[in-house]
């Protein structure tokens, strides 16, 4: 039993501060059993609503134990009289000699409410039928001894509630911070859910967001009791009355009976910003079936506005970020985003001594396409090029619309040969694409790409040099007939030959 040496006020011996109510109860019963030569001492809490005495802790034969016993004292019995009069009552039955010492105290709800939390019950002290009965003086002594202990029980209860209060205050401060900073961190939804789980510790928290365009409630993330977060993107609920209870809640049509049943262990919290519902946060203790404290529910509800705002802000932030980082036409990242990733990948390649290849592609005769068929057709060409590129890359590859019809692709951990293979595939797939041009004679258009490739560390040792060499290779292709692929090392070799006087090859391997 853990206890520290902090002395409480009072006369009873061994008055120390116990860690937790249970430790305190064990000590109290153990002490009274020893001091008054009891066979057993039991602590019961009385439930006024049901009239039941519920056993919390027992001590007998040197062992403390919790019990599961709910018993109703007979009207007029010794226990019932003790509870009525709040005075100790002795009794002797065939089961043994008993002394009932009742207690009652009230304390204010530390959660800030005006209600009073009552604590009522009795301690049953027991001697075997053959042992001596409780004398009146002994009964008075035992009762006084217990009452002095129970004053500390009151304190233990109070401290326990006070700790909860302290925890709530800390939660308010820290959660406000969590929600306020959600915007600045990656995976802001995760951040919000983690914050809720850290301070409330529900069995589960789930976040659903409304997809207005498709009229759906879509699952986003779920956090379990251990704080483990997973995607629930597979959950999609049509946002129609009667389609699902979550939809009904969001639409404000939920049935009261259903909510009533779950009110103690589930909170469905629609998230609304300026009167518009944007999603649904569900917290539950369904697995443990443990009641969520009303104060916790109230506090989480009071955070509802902040959570909704944080969720909405991060969603907007994601949208803005997407707009500023991605090209709407090709769906490829823009140059600004590329520069950031290029730097990261280059440092990684340098540090781990891994190869890094760079492809620089240019759509052949793109200016003529625009001039001849108009910008709409030019846009279609770019869109198709973007589609072909995105559908052929690995997860770690990073493409970018570098400007106009120029596209750059970063290929981490790829050699020149691997980059060439990918370039060939892209080139071939794009060449096979037929772009409909209804007003032209041929009714369709086909385009090709010129591609230059450079690699680190073979061709260049810096970022700028790597870009420059890929551009050199591209230039070489453009000046040698277009529609081909050139790797810088081969271009360099060809140039050397040119310098030496050999005729330049029409194309590279």
């Amino acid at each position: 039993m853990k206890k520290n040496e902090k002395i409480f006020y009072g006369e009873a011996p061994g008055r120390v501060f116990y860690e937790g109510r249970d430790a305190f109860l064990r000590a109290a019963l153990e002490s009274v059993e020893e001091r008054f030569a009891l066979a057993c001492a039991s602590f019961y809490e009385y439930e006024e609503g049901t009239g039941l005495l519920r056993l919390r802790q027992c001590h007998a034969s040197g062992v403390s134990f919790e019990g599961e016993e709910n018993l109703k004292p007979q009207p007029g019995s010794a226990a019932a009289r003790a509870l009525e009069t709040m005075q100790p009552v002795r009794s002797r039955t065939s089961g043994g000699n008993f002394l009932y010492s009742p207690f009652r105290f009230d304390y204010s709800d530390p959660a800030g409410g005006s209600s009073v939390v009552p604590c009522l019950g009795l301690v049953r002290m027991e001697r075997s039928p053959r042992a001596r009965r409780f004398l009146p003086s002994e009964a008075a002594g035992a009762d006084a001894y217990l009452r002095s202990f129970l004053r500390d029980y009151y304190k233990a209860e109070f401290f326990s509630l006070h700790r909860k209060y302290d925890k709530n205050v800390a939660a308010i401060t820290e959660l406000t911070e969590v929600f306020a900073t959600a915007l600045r961190v990656r995976d802001s939804f995760r951040h919000i859910l983690s914050g809720i789980q850290t301070y409330f510790g529900f069995d589960r928290v789930r976040l659903y967001l409304i997809d207005e365009k498709n009229r759906k409630l879509k699952g986003e993330l779920s956090a379990d009791i251990r704080g483990k977060i997973k995607s629930i993107a597979y959950e999609e609920i049509p946002l129609e009355p009667g389609a699902h209870r979550f939809a009904d809640i969001v639409l404000g049509r939920s049935s009261g009976a259903f909510m009533e049943r779950y009110k103690d262990c589930v909170l469905y919290m629609p998230l609304a910003v300026q009167g518009v519902t944007i999603g649904l946060l569900i917290v539950d203790n369904l697995l443990s079936q443990q009641r969520i404290e009303p104060q916790e529910l109230a506090m989480l509800r009071s955070f509802g506005g902040q959570i909704a705002l944080a969720v909405d802000n991060s969603r907007l932030f994601d949208k803005v970020e997407e707009l500023s980082l991605y090209d709407e036409l090709t769906k490829l990242p823009l140059r600004r985003y590329f520069n950031q990733r290029f730097q990261e990948e280059f440092y990684r390649a340098e540090r781990f001594k891994q190869p890094l290849a760079l492809i620089w592609a240019d759509i052949d005769h793109f200016k003529e396409v625009n001039d001849t068929y108009g910008h709409q057709i030019g846009d279609k060409v770019l869109k198709e090029a973007g589609r072909v590129i995105l559908s052929n890359l690995r997860k770690i590859d990073f493409p970018c619309r570098y400007g106009g019809d120029e596209i750059v692709i970063l290929l981490p951990q790829a050699t020149g040969a691997e980059a060439r293979r990918l370039a060939q595939r892209l080139s071939q797939e794009l060449a096979e694409v037929r772009i409909a041009v209804p007003f032209s004679k041929t009714r369709e258009l086909r385009v090709t790409m010129s591609i230059g490739v450079s690699t680190f560390p073979q061709d260049a040792s810096s970022m700028d040099a790597l870009l420059e060499k890929a551009d050199d290779a591209l230039y070489w292709v453009k000046s040698h007939g277009r529609g081909q692929i050139a790797v810088y090392s081969e271009v360099a070799a060809a140039k050397e030959k040119e310098k030496a006087g050999s005729p330049p090859p029409a194309s590279l391997p």
């Binding site: 039941l52 004292p73 019995s77």
Partner: protein
């Protein structure tokens, strides 16, 4: 090393464990061991409290749990894997019916089966005179038992002793009370494929109703005032006793034992309790060593015999069965033993049923119970269990 032991209505268990620990301390004086006895509800709450805030609510090193909590708490990451650390687990030295529900992942084990009990019917032949002529035959079925209770009840009201006593009762009708009867009717809380809850199925609801009827008719006293004033009644004061333990002094008081009524073809529901090592134990190997030590035949035999239950280790279990005075009845029970499923949502489903039974018990005690109440409570509990199944 800190151990959490499940509390028991029979104080002999706590004392037996205390003695067991004294033996351990004598054998290993350098290892300090403390134990707390927690109620099932309190243990459940403590485990979840730990999950919510592990730093403020540390786990003990070793916990005793009902076997069918293993899947849930191992999935939640609370229990350490023991299959290679506890020799009887590594060698699978347990009866097959226990191993079957030990862990859903073949080859791993997050708790070691320790002891088991099975509810049975005890009767006092003298009290049945004139009411039952062939106990073995007449008390084999639930209907026969029920009729005998009525006959005995009539005479016992005159002569004093109660007709039926259930020493393990917590006061209300509980899951532990109704499940043997549900099993007897071939019901259960979930369908065989575990895809849906079956609380309202005829076999399950019927089994629950059979027991509730005992409470409604006053054969089982709810929230017993008498027990509060006088303590548990001695065995000799009841004609029938339903208990999953071998009763202390049952031989002296002339009690005889029969299988739980309503399993005509033999068999019975077994309740198995295991020892598990916390995944956050500061001394995982020392804790596993304690579990191994507790499983040693001598220690296991002493512990289980002290409060009238069976050991889980196959050799000790079989030896006990051979020595058992009531071995015919036990052979009948162990002919086709059945365990509660060890699946993630099962313990929660039991809690849902427990809550329904609590509400019904209060109604019965107030005298305003109606059959419709049972239907309503079971429909709601089943809905919640189904919902849980969809989530986990």
């Amino acid at each position: 090393m800190i151990i959490w032991l499940l509390s028991d209505y029979d104080h002999r268990k706590h004392l037996a464990f205390k003695t067991l620990l004294a033996r351990f301390s004598a054998a290993y004086p350098d290892t300090a061991v403390e134990f707390s006895v927690k109620s099932r509800a309190s243990l459940w709450e403590s485990l979840f409290t730990h999950l919510r805030d592990p730093k403020r609510n540390p786990m003990p090193d070793i916990i005793e749990i009902p076997q069918n909590w293993t899947d849930l708490f191992s999935r939640l990451g609370l229990l350490a894997e023991l299959s290679s650390k506890v020799e009887p687990l590594a060698q699978r030295r347990y009866p097959e019916f226990i191993l079957k529900e030990l862990c859903r992942n073949e080859g791993s084990a997050f708790s070691a089966p320790w002891w088991l009990e099975s509810p049975a019917l005890f009767y006092r032949p003298q009290a049945l005179k004139g009411a039952v002529s062939d106990p073995e035959k007449e008390l084999a079925s639930w209907e026969g038992f029920r009729a005998a209770l009525d006959s005995v009840g009539k005479s016992s009201r005159r002569s004093g002793p109660r007709a039926l006593s259930v020493p393990g009762s917590s006061g209300s009708v509980s899951v532990a009370d109704v499940l043997p009867r549900v099993w007897g009717r071939r019901g259960g809380l979930f369908s065989e494929d575990f895809n849906r809850a079956t609380f309202t199925h005829e076999e399950t609801a019927g089994g629950i109703e059979d027991w509730l009827e005992l409470a409604v008719s006053g054969k089982v006293e709810l929230f017993s005032a008498d027990r509060f004033e006088n303590g548990p009644r001695p065995a000799e004061e009841s004609a029938f006793i339903i208990s999953s333990r071998k009763l202390a002094g049952s031989g002296r008081s002339g009690l005889r034992m029969l299988p739980y009524p309503g399993y005509p073809s033999g068999g019975g529901l077994m309740l198995v309790y295991n020892l598990a090592v916390s995944a956050s134990s500061q001394d995982p190997s020392g804790s596993a060593a304690f579990v191994s030590w507790a499983m040693e035949p001598r220690n296991l035999s002493f512990f289980t015999e002290s409060f009238g239950v069976f050991p889980c280790l196959r050799s000790v279990f079989e030896e006990r069965l051979r020595d058992e005075r009531e071995s015919d009845a036990y052979r009948h029970i162990f002919a086709a033993p059945e365990l509660k499923p060890n699946m993630m949502v099962y313990p929660t489903a039991e809690l849902l049923l427990e809550r329904a039974l609590w509400n019904l018990s209060l109604k019965i005690a107030r005298g305003d119970y109606d059959r419709e109440d049972l239907t309503r409570e079971l429909i709601m509990a089943q809905g919640e269990a189904d919902y849980l199944l969809s989530l986990y």
